[in-house]
Symmetry: C2
Subunit: 349 residues, 2 copies
DNA sequence: ACGAGGTATTGCCACGTTGCATGCGACGTT
DNA sequence: AACGTCGCATGCAACGTGGCAATACCTCGT
């Protein structure tokens, strides 16, 4: 069952230390001895005890990934990429879901897991930047999305202001003049929505329009049903809108669904743009125009940051603020003539 | 930074053992001592060293979750529920992605992680039942979906034959007579697709129809683009079909997209049914009828199995084969008259 | 044949924690 | 007053591994 170095050593007729050397490849071991030990290792099916190794090394080989929820497509896709990139670095990922609970986020930042993880990637939702800054930690932290202004942690994110501006501008360029924004979350301290709102407003102003409060719609969460509810409220309120910029694809898909169910046409009556570039967006009907952050790069840059901090602790590198590229992928939900079928597009990728 | 029991003991003027007792709540500690120790704990911000605790206890408090890919909505939703249920049991989940690679699945079953996890939940894709059975392991394993016929591992899954039968029957009851099946994977040894095919065929036969090979379409993977491709091939082949039963929601959404892009109406010309009950299905346009497994129950039953095996190792309970309930959720993609908007439905939940 | 210079192997210890057993003192009972 | 009991605190040991340094052994050169 559970064979230890001791058992292997006894079987091979050598000391524990020699077995350890064979396993780790360190030290000098005669070829004949190595072969004998290797045979014993194989016969007993030796597996190193990770806990003991961790205790000895002071490292666990684990990194934590704290996200609001795994079931939402954006975080599912991102988590998948992070797990994949971590595997390449021989790290294992443990996932925590905060569900946007500030206490959960606080606990994780303070190191609730015990020294179980060597580093933490966290995507905060409800903690304010100020609070993020004060929660010091004894392990490296990378923030996704939210910035830590006082800078104890690295940060990886798209340029939300710019991206939101581009998305809105795309709608304005197509002749839309009453563009609604869906996704404000006044009850949360997270700055992402604020920055997307900022980009939205700046695009309007540049086009000579004035942001109108009744076109800026709040949501409680970022799921499809919240987008649907906000869109229903917007339509029922009698406020005219010929386009919607939703702060997430899920919100956009909910809004899209509601628009169609109200008998309106997309994009002819209402154009819709989302944010996140989730795979669903590509296959929605009509396919959803969306801001696509380079998620693979988010994953890799975040892990690179962690690796640097973990392997060079006292390097004194100031906290990084990394902006990953994004692109606006234009599809049928804003384009009057539908493009080629998505199947063909997918094949061409 | 990293304070140990020793540091706390020195500060509180007691022995290490007493601090340990305070931390774990075990043993008898005088109230005054407890208070003093607690103060020292707080001041030093003590966090137990998980590695040492694990080494001592022989347990890690970690369970492994091995799934093909995290980015697909079904597995994302399922993984979220498993992480959530594990948190309630004070377990932490480490996630591995196999991408359906048989070697990766083999390695995990054989315990590649070292004794890092106390148990493993694995959703195999490409290992045959025979191979699953021979890969013994020294930790408890729960299989999702696929069965281990020789029974070393518990198994949790829906009744795929029955569910597929119900889905197909639903189409037949609505008057469809040429029902295509999309999702066969002849190159994989996984039995799930085979059982769904079996249910599909049995429903056809019961209705007096004969399964036709050209209506049974294969795919290489289970993503939207594969469904789109299979649907394109079906339409281009000239084979008439008035309904599609896809073996996963992703396939169904891809097929749906293609059908609409070919200028056909759903459900009037082609009705579509999926399988998995992912959230996207609810908000598709038209909303997708789908077989909804009780994912929360899958997560909880799987963890219950693990808990039983981990905490009562030699209990001698024979391997369990747990069928979790499912239901066919009928939506606009098979129903001639669209139901109420999804937003309203979501609010009514 | 003997010493020098390696090479191969090994013993010891510590990482931080907890189970077990024991020590010690105080209090209550007879 | 003496004894038993109980509550509280502590010391020792061990979980499995790897770094360090010492030792045993072996070969080669003189």
């Amino acid at each position: 069952m559970s064979s230890r170095l001791k058992d292997v050593a006894a079987r091979a007729g050598v000391s524990i230390r020699t077995v350890s050397n064979v396993v780790s490849g360190s030290g000098a071991v005669a070829e004949s001895t190595r072969a004998r030990v290797q045979a014993a290792l194989d016969e007993l099916g030796y597996r190193p005890n990770i806990a003991a190794r961790n205790l000895r090394a002071g490292r666990t080989g684990l990194i934590g990934l704290a996200i609001p929820e795994l079931h939402s497509p954006y975080f599912g896709e991102l988590a998948g990429l992070i797990v994949e990139a971590a595997q390449q670095r021989a790290w294992t990922v443990v996932i925590d879901q905060t569900f946007g609970d500030p206490d959960a986020e606080r606990r994780l930042l303070e190191g609730a897991g015990g020294r179980m993880v060597d580093g933490l990637i966290i995507s905060p939702w409800s903690l304010s930047p100020e609070e993020l800054a004060t929660r010091a930690r004894d392990i490296p932290v990378v923030l996704l999305g939210e910035r830590d202004p006082n800078g104890h942690a690295d940060r990886v994110a798209v340029d939300n202001v710019l991206a939101a501006d581009e998305a809105t501008t795309h709608l304005l360029d197509a002749g839309r003049r009453r563009v609604a924004a869906i996704g404000l979350q006044p009850h949360l301290r997270n700055g992402t929505a604020l920055r997307r709102l900022e980009g939205y407003r700046s695009a309007l102003r540049r086009a000579g329009l004035t942001p109108e409060p009744e076109l800026e719609r709040t949501v409680t969460a970022l799921h499809r049903e919240d987008g649907a509810r906000a869109m229903t409220a917007l339509l029922d309120s009698g406020v005219r809108a010929d386009a919607v910029f939703a702060f997430s694809d899920e919100l956009a898909l909910g809004a899209l669904h509601t628009v169609l169910n109200h008998g309106l046409r997309v994009p002819e009556d209402v154009a819709v743009v989302g944010f996140d570039g989730i795979e669903d967006a590509r296959y929605a009907n009509p396919a959803l125009t969306t801001v696509v952050p380079d998620k693979r790069q988010i994953a890799e840059r975040a892990l690179q940051c962690l690796a640097d901090r973990i392997y060079s602790p006292g390097a004194g590198v100031p906290p990084l603020d990394i902006a990953v590229p994004h692109r606006l992928e234009i599809r049928a939900s804003t384009h009057p003539r539908p493009g080629p079928p998505a199947g063909a597009a997918a094949e061409a990728r």
